[in-house]
Amino acid sequence: MPILSYIDAVTLALREEMQKNPRVFVLGEDVGVRGGVFRATHGLIDEFGPERVLDTPLTESAIAGVSIGASVYGMRPVAEMQFADFIMPAVNQIISEAAKMRYRSNNSWHCPLVIRAPYGGGVHGGLYHSQSVEKLFTGIPGLKIVTPSTPYDVKGLLKSAIQDEDPVLFFEHKRCYRLIKGEVPEEDYTLPIGQAEVKREGTDVTVISYGLTLHFALQAAEELQKEGISVHVLDLRTLIPLDKEAVLQAVAKTGKVMIIHEDNLTGGFGGEVSALIAEEAFFELDAPIRRLAGPDVPAMPYSPPLEKEFMLNQEKVTHAIRELAEF
């Protein structure tokens, strides 16, 4: 099975879906001739032409709005927000329009569109190229929110997102793009949106995470194994709809839960997962639920030591899990 990087899995999924379905097209800033600033759409313009790989002006609201209008007309747009940070001008289109189209039209119209956005820090991107924005959307019914952490999941979930009949926000952690590699089957496969996956079995502490921090959890688990601490790791993969059953099962495995994400602690998705556990698995718990997340500062600093301070890493995660294990 070929080993691909996380970003190559993005490109592969796009290419396969575009080959299969002429209604699929991508649009965004620098996605065509440049192949994307991260090269996620590399080579697509040569294969599919400039109409299906549309270089747009710097116009995020129109990118989202055009996607909505085109999807209503039966197309399958895959829009790229160059950085998740720049999704803000499109928020009105996403929240007021895409999320509500099916509901307010009583199912007459719907928006089968995907908005891809690279998010997250650790790449020295500074304040406006590092943010995690998922918590802005997780409270908006009508949207699906996918946050894969491995190349295998990227391919399967992006293909599902493109085939989905509802609007999907597909958040790609940009630190994962070239750092994370893995086996990706050549055949056409999809993974169901809304299904979490146990990435490591364990018995002492359960870690629930997604994106880059999921990898820190896996590394920490490996490290802690040597100390005799067995860590169970659940990758949410999809935030909305949340796989509640998988969360509750993972909690029952160990009775000690740590939720980890890079998005800010306050309002971050960990709060939602934590509330779910408190409501539905309280008696499974042997320790208070612990959240490990980005601090509540307005942005990821550009200064390297401060960025390092903001970011989670294997050491911080290992330390936190060890503490919880010892509770």
């Binding site: 097209f25 116009t59 709005g65 209008g69 209503v72």
Partner: protein, 351 residues
């Protein structure tokens, strides 16, 4: 005719019901049926609008956005569209929707707060009313882009008011449409007030139409109370779009006789003399009525008959809409996604 469109303030029928010089050529080319269609639709729309305000006062529908005064802009433009064209309306476009074939019953259900009202007849390409202001402009472009990709000869029209021209989406949409020469029509009914904000406070540029130049698309300003002028402008924009010549911005200058909505009091921000001038002297229906009578196409008896017939149509729709049973409470949970997520099933069960 084309030459005259390059000028601002294109007019065919003057407020007193006389044809302009250039209007005479245009008028001559219109069929008798078309001339009467303009009239009948405008009367029908006004009857509906009047009845809707009363229904709101009686508590039988919710807050309503009156459009009396804007009949010519809506009817004239919508009659230039065909089945394959897309309409992205704002909330004040009941006239457009009626001409586009949306049953009055559905329109009333919408104002009763029923999402079922936004389920339109099969094959209809009218989107439900847009409320957030200007969000429909980029979406109309998306439909236009899809038409271009599918090589289908349809145009997409975004309807909006003068207030929408200050929103970012107006700029993003016109810029995008200009760059890609999309078959899209931006139809602005400049009724001169965004709730209470007069247009001079909305824009330092005195007209909406001249903004089009900044996006390298044609900007056309017509007397929005002149149904024929509006119609001709729209026909030309549609034809440009379908021939691959790109987008058009049309500014139809008009006036809403009533308030922004039934929850608004327009006397707080508009002078009585100004309202009086527009209602008495510049009414869109009156001028066509005068012209049609002078041309021998309409008699007082025809007018009475048609008004009565229009009232009947509205009454029938009111009965139909009011006889629709109340929704089951759990309709609250319908159509959030294609398939209801487990969590929502649980919430639905728990209510």
């Amino acid at each position: 005719m084309l030459k005259s469109m390059d000028k601002m303030d294109f007019k065919v029928v003057l407020p007193e019901g006389r044809l302009t010089d250039e209007g005479r050529c245009v008028w001559k080319e219109l069929s008798r049926e078309k001339k009467l269609d303009f009239y009948r639709w405008m009367v029908q729309v006004r009857q509906f609008d009047r009845r809707s305000i009363l229904l709101q006062r009686q508590g039988r529908i919710g807050t309503y956005a009156p459009m009396a005064g804007q009949e010519a802009a809506q009817v004239g433009s919508a009659l230039a569209l065909s089945k394959e064209d897309w309409i992205f309306p704002s909330y004040r476009e009941v006239g457009v929707n009626m001409v586009a074939g949306i049953p009055l019953k559905q329109i009333l259900l919408h104002w009763m707060g029923r999402v079922e009202g936004n389920r339109f007849p099969e094959g209809s390409r009218v989107l439900p009313p847009y409320v957030p202001i200007a969000t429909q402009l980029p979406q109309a472009m998306g439909a236009a882009w899809a038409a271009k990709m599918k090589k289908e000869p349809s145009v997409a029209v975004a309807y909006f008011g003068d207030g929408a021209t200050s929103e970012g989406d107006f700029h993003e949409a016109l810029n995008f449409a200009g760059v890609f020469r999309l078959p899209v029509i931006f139809f602005c009914q400049n009724n001169q007030y965004a709730i209470s904000t007069p247009f001079r406070r909305q824009s330092a540029v005195p007209t909406v139409a001249e903004r089009a130049a900044a996006y390298h698309i044609p900007g056309i300003r017509v007397d929005g109370n002149d149904v024929v002028a509006v119609h001709i402008a729209m026909e030309q924009a549609v034809s440009r779009g379908k021939q691959g010549e790109g987008a058009t911005l049309i500014e139809a200058v008009t006036y809403r006789h009533g308030a922004h909505t039934t929850a608004d009091d327009a006397t707080r921000y508009r002078e009585a003399e100004e309202v009086e001038e527009w209602v008495r002297n510049r009414d869109p229906i009156h001028r066509l009525e005068v012209l049609l009578k002078a041309e021998g196409l309409l008699t007082d008896a025809d007018i009475r008959d048609w008004e009565e017939a229009s009232r009947q149509v509205v009454e029938h729709a009111v009965k139909e809409a009011e006889s629709v049973p109340a929704p089951a409470a759990d309709h609250l949970f319908a159509h959030v996604y294609e398939k209801m997520p487990l969590d929502l099933i649980k919430q639905k069960r728990d209510v």
